[in-house]
Amino acid sequence: AKDIGGGTAGSAGQGCRLNPPPVVTAGGPVVHRPGPAPNAAAMKVGLAFDIGGRGDASFNDASVAGLERAKREMGLAEVKELDAGAGEPEDAKQTRLRQLAQEGFDPVIAVGYAYADALKIVAAQFPRTRFAIIDEDLRGIPNVTPLVFAEEQGSFLAGVIAAHRTKTCHIGFVGGVRTPLIQKFEAGYAAGAKAAAPDIRIDRAYLTPAGDPSGFQDPNKGAEVAQGQLDGGADVIYHAAGASGKGVFSSVKSAGAKAIGVDSDQYRQPSVADYRDVIISSMLKRVDLAVFDYVAAAARGDLASVPEKFDLSLDGVGYSTSGGMIDDLVPTVDAYRAAIATGRIKVSDRP
């Protein structure tokens, strides 16, 4: 007989024993944005992509979105993007940055921590060009501005949401490659879930160990890992697995469970539109915002105003509510958010 999608995972069970959300009096994120957008009509911005490149529906695309907005609001003169290849050697990264700097792009934004070493060298060769790097806390080079995020804080909120949505008191996390960056997601997620429901069971898995990048590129494996967690009883799964996340969504959907997306609002993402009804929320990492803020600061000539870390208090990370599947949870999640933003809850970035 033909199988009909949508299993009945977690239909039994009453969910977890939940802690009440923290009570925060001075509330909400303290978003302070410096003045109106400056004019950047003379500025040419170069963008060097990481593997995945344009169309990854993740941080590469988010950085493009930031620049698009800058174009609209500040009249940016020109934007040039260069793509990276998988497993490429270090000098290819240098060449890419150098090429942009040489052609007079300023600032040049390196998307991804893979550029850290290349940037150290190229930034020294072009002292008058301003560089930014996403996801790597590269300090101490005068013309390099790091744009980093508190992924663990956003993931904490994902954990809270998962804890409130599970009916089996059992949730899952699927990471692509076991790198320190992805482990931050895992750490925050687990902390958030435990904070909301101390008894909760959390399955965590990575597709490949560090150094084997195929973990971000193998939806089939993502599907199997998620299926394993679902069969084991988990009914909400959060992924930080790049393109492999599609596999996670697909398993979640056929099991009738729930999923939480990552980086951008995956509910609205065309490439996973088939699965949108199970994506209850996404952890947002606002690379677009950081890029926009950075370009604005550069246009003003005031790079010191770029925050050290884009965290919850700056809306640098957050969560999405598209689809309206967690509308009832918003007050609870926002309470946690406020607690983190005000520093009452500290989230560790190590699992």
Binding site: D3, Y206, Q217, V272
Partner: protein, 424 residues
């Protein structure tokens, strides 16, 4: 006049002591041993995942692309052409499948994957059969070419739609089917958690639920390959090209044509294997580097299976099973597998002893003890190892058993028409 055909003369090899057990029963016996060992381990460690229907379904999903690639290898090598280009043909298959699939549905995708794979096979055939290029060299080049072509074409044709040069738009999938009420009944049995019965029910249940037409096609292609290759005129001729093409040609077999056909079929199967990566549920569409060396692993499964469809099925199943197990439930279950492995090794030792092969029995016994010791001394295996369990298993099994393997005699040798008898 002495009339009887002598066997085992001074030149011939001694006749292998073949008991009354036919080959298929022999294989079935080993399957039973494997299932028993795994269910024993499952019972001992309290890890039902070892034989759960979910694990088996994973094994099927992960094993199908490998099975198809392996069958592709089988077809080519039985005709004497080594096909290490399976990976490239598989990549072409994923690309073609996604390209046609997203526009015209999964059936069209399957067809296109087959055609693209076949094109890859055709290139290999032209290089190896017509131009006599070293088969491995041609294969390496085809892998380069397949990857490059797929990348180039997706930049050209997918990017405008998917906004990503490395990815196709989502491809509609095949529906899946389950044999009901059998599946439900097996599921109930499995849930009883009775030793043995539930294990078998889990395995069988995994095989009959959530099956897509593509999976059925793959299941079918094993017996079909066997029947065609071993029970048909066509297959006899094809195999003769892999064993002794000169003899075949002297009997009027159009060796070149059969080699061409075999390699094209091989590419077709590899292409369908690629389609299995995108047209089965749970997968998105074409994605760069998605095949992830599955073509090579298919080749390994074929060698593992001693160039026979049944053995190849076993190899692909083992691969899919150990991969599925480690992906679904990580280190603990793979650790439990050690217990099962030790048990199987014990049976091997007993079998060797029964055949009066003392050395073999000793080696198997020592290996069993070593595996058992590792099992007892550790609680878990490092992730870096479990993630590559299938590869390690392949290497170990080849190391242990490769000397009994029997590749086609003329496999990989260049062959040119009209050179019969020259340089003998």
């Amino acid at each position: 006049m002495r009339t009887e055909v002598r066997t085992g003369t001074a030149t011939g090899r001694p006749q292998r002591a073949r008991g009354p057990v036919p080959g298929w029963a022999h294989a079935a016996l080993w399957v039973v041993v494997g299932v028993v060992a795994v269910s024993f381990a499952s019972y001992q460690t309290g890890l039902p995942q070892l034989t759960s229907s979910g694990t088996v379904q994973s094994a099927v999903r992960l094993g199908i692309p490998i099975l198809l690639a392996g069958l592709g290898g089988l077809w080519a090598e039985r005709a004497g052409v080594i096909n290490i280009g399976l990976e490239g043909m598989m990549i072409l298959g994923t690309w073609g499948g996604a390209w046609a699939g997203y526009q015209w549905g999964p059936a069209a995708g399957l067809l296109a994957a087959a055609v693209f794979g076949a094109l890859g096979g055709l290139v290999h055939a032209v290089a190896t059969v017509t131009f006599g290029v070293n088969h491995i060299v041609s294969g390496v080049a085809i892998n380069l070419l397949g990857a490059g072509t797929a990348k180039y074409l997706s930049t050209l044709l997918f990017e405008p739609v998917s906004k990503n040069p490395r990815e196709s738009p989502p491809v509609p999938k095949f529906d899946t089917y389950s044999a009901q009420p059998l599946g439900a009944w097996l599921h109930e049995l499995e849930n009883l958690q009775r030793v043995g019965i539930s294990d078998v029910a889990g395995v069988l249940g995994g095989l009959v639920t959530g099956v897509s037409p593509l999976t059925m096609l793959a299941y079918l292609s094993v017996p079909v390959s066997y029947l065609v290759l071993w029970r048909s005129r066509f297959g006899l001729r094809l195999r003769s090209c892999g064993e002794n093409p000169i003899a075949a040609e002297s009997l009027g077999v159009a060796v070149h044509r059969y080699k061409y056909l075999a390699v094209v079929v091989s590419g077709t199967l590899a292409g369908i294997g690629g389609a299995a990566l995108i047209l089965n549920p749970g997968q998105a569409g074409y994605l760069e580097n998605q095949t992830n060396n599955r073509g090579y692993i298919g080749l390994a499964a074929m060698i593992f299976g001693n160039w026979r469809p049944g053995g190849l099925l076993g190899g692909a199943a083992l691969f899919g099973y150990s991969d599925g197990l480690q992906l679904r439930s990580g280190g603990t279950t793979v650790h439990a597998l050690l217990l099962a492995a030790a048990l199987v090794l014990l049976v091997v030792a007993a079998a060797q002893l029964w055949r009066r092969r003392k050395l073999g029995a000793g080696v198997a016994l020592v290996a069993a003890a070593a595996v058992l010791a590792v099992y007892l001394a550790t609680d878990q295996l490092p992730e870096e190892i479990t993630a590559y369990t299938p590869h390690l298993v392949t290497l170990v099994v080849l190391g242990a058993a490769s000397q009994r393997l029997r590749p086609p005699a003329a496999n990989g040798l260049p062959y040119r028409r009209g050179e019969q008898g020259a340089r003998e």
